[in-house]
Subunit: 385 residues, 2 copies
């Protein structure tokens, strides 16, 4: 196991009616930016609960943060914060709104061009405190310091990570997610599954707790994912999905062990080029990457086969084949197609274009061993035809 | 799953050489109480590393915190803090030193009799900040807000829990534990195992992540415990034990699910009456409690049998029998005897004495269902003859 520092300071309020905790978390005199997406929170009762909790505090509402939150949108929210002397951000929504709140929090007092925060990893000295009310289990943004920000005018999508943008608190009320479209729930399950795989399916590193926790989250997603899709108002199934998605990316399982993240990097390019939902890009890339990288990932593939899918009989290669097939079938069962052709994308041209784009960004050595070169990226995408 | 609030703010520095982080964690002008046990840290190099990290800061050393840290000892440390205007506590040692530091931190500015903090759960308004350097994996005290304090003059041993006494940071360097006596390592494994069981072996509550994480920690202790006892300088085995012991009691696995803790409450009395090591009291009580409570714990016993011990064949009763036997054997393999007779304690008289003592403290309805009455306590201890 490698050395690590683990720190996750976010206070999680989990369960029914927990939005009321917002009142206890925010200072009585806080000046609050309420950041949200397209407005679904006004239909499902979340907005009313949030407003009740905020009480008489001055609240400046900013709706309209889109999926894959955009720099230009977020900079308008930054302008509101600066004009209104906002000192707390309350992000109400899914991963995009939460990610967006992290950029806004870091940008408000940033001296210079805030895009540098993501493009050049410019140093952040401070950030506004963030609270979140999560309405879509998927990204883990409610309990980590990471965000992915897009800038459509220059076709970019980049990540940044900073301890200062960990939410101070997050409210996770599974009932607020009951009204989500099935497509978004399925995307969330698929996204969380891949988050675990990126931190787990690498090479053995003697992280016994990390491995077993990762396998735990995978099994819970496999057990509870289809259950919550079939019966969206089953509280316990949905609660288990919500809590699993948080643990998939709150840093615990990735401490002291190698990480991959090539599926995400390749997937981001598919979203940028073809507008495919983030989770669906992962459904395309992950099974194919497992196949192409089966040699370097051999030991963990066998462990994954045995512990996650109970595949313990047959030859090693047969077990690996079966585990990859099970992974593909899991995504397909969620309704997430795993072939580029399912999205009317031609593998040949896209494979070379994605490889070229990644290389041009300095991402020519992806994966836990740095062996996913542009040629391997091409191979992965051709195998996902 | 029940509602919960989860917050674990402790920053963990894990790995070789991480004691150096103490310098970064403490303010340059901190006035530090270095709290320690009997002095083994001067033999194993930990003291020298800690002193190097503390540099020129004024440090007031207090050695002599005993196993089952005593109120009278700790009040002498409180006096040092008050006299020297200490503003940080650095606890260097095992669970007893760490637990002791929590009492000292809370007592320094407490108005009134500090024993009330444990005896009457008196309200704590503030506590000195605590950092820890853990040298014995066992109690989880490095990442929780709990402490167990003894007061020998009145034969008491009581717990208190408060968010203010969470360590701000903890250093976990597995190498600092290489020189521990095998008996202490074995005790730590047995203690951590029981911590998990107290939060897991109750009744089903739809905590899918909590259950699987608990089973993960148990399996890691079963796999790595004997390995690290057989080869104390195997870094990876020891690192896995250290990290498993932290997760056994850092609150994560107990969120939103029922908890038992009867084995601990009964065990504390065996320590108070007969001076048996804490972990060994658990080795005595736990298997016997599993047997006596097999009806109310039936569903979780079957899950435990299947997922932790791979016992999936045979009748339900046979699987439960086998799981209890495996648990007993696990403790015996560690060298922790599981029968009162092994400690020259007469079951009959002790059983009624422990039941009486617990009832006199208001603990007449222990366990996750409150069904462990004094009569059941007696039955458990007689079955452990």
């Amino acid at each position: 196991m490698e050395n690590f520092t683990y720190h996750n300071p976010t206070r999680i309020h989990f369960g029914r009616g927990q939005i009321a905790q917002v009142d206890r978390e925010l200072p009585a005199n806080a000046r609050v930016l309420l950041l949200a997406g397209g407005g679904s929170i006004k239909q499902n009762g979340v907005y009313a609960q949030v407003k009740a909790a905020l009480g008489a505090r001055p609240v400046f509402e900013f709706f309209g943060v889109e999926a894959n939150p955009d720099y230009d949108t977020l900079m308008r929210a930054v302008a509101v914060c600066r004009a209104e002397k906002v000192d707390w951000i309350l992000a109400v929504g899914g991963g995009s709104v939460l990610d967006g709140s992290k950029f806004v929090a870091a940008a408000v007092d940033f001296v210079g061009e805030p895009w540098d925060i993501v493009a050049k990893r410019a140093k952040i000295e401070r950030a506004l405190p963030i609270g979140t009310v999560l309405t879509l289990p998927a990204t883990g943004s409610e309990a980590n310091g990471a965000a992915v920000i897009s800038r459509r005018t220059i076709k970019e999508k980049l990540a940044f990570i900073h301890p200062l943008v960990f939410p101070r608190f997050s409210v996770l009320d599974p009932e607020t997610t009951f009204s989500l479209p099935a497509r978004q729930v399925a995307n969330g399950i698929g996204d969380a599954f891949c988050h675990v795989m990126e931190q787990y399916l690498t090479f053995p590193a003697h992280g016994a707790i990390q491995d077993r926790f990762a396998e735990s989250v995978l099994r819970v997603l496999i057990d509870e994912g289809p259950k919550t899709l079939a019966n969206p108002r089953d509280y316990d199934a949905r609660a288990n999905l919500v809590w699993a998605a948080t643990w998939a990316l709150n840093n615990a399982i990735g401490m002291g062990v190698p990480q991959d993240w090539a599926s995400h990097m390749i997937g981001h390019e598919l979203t940028a080029l073809h507008g495919i939902d983030h989770a669906r890009t992962l459904a395309i890339v992950l099974p194919s990457l497992m196949q192409v990288q089966r040699a370097p990932k051999r030991e963990k593939l066998l462990q994954y086969a045995a512990r996650v899918w109970d595949l313990r009989a047959g030859s090693e290669d047969a077990r690996i084949d079966a585990a990859i097939a099970a992974t593909r079938k899991f995504y397909e069962t969620l309704g997430l197609q795993t072939r580029l052709a399912d999205y009317d994308v031609k593998a040949d041209t896209t494979a070379s274009e994605v490889a070229r784009r990644l290389a041009s960004k300095g991402m020519a050595q992806l994966g836990e061993r740095g062996d996913i070169t542009p040629a391997v990226v091409e191979k992965i995408l051709r195998a996902a035809a």
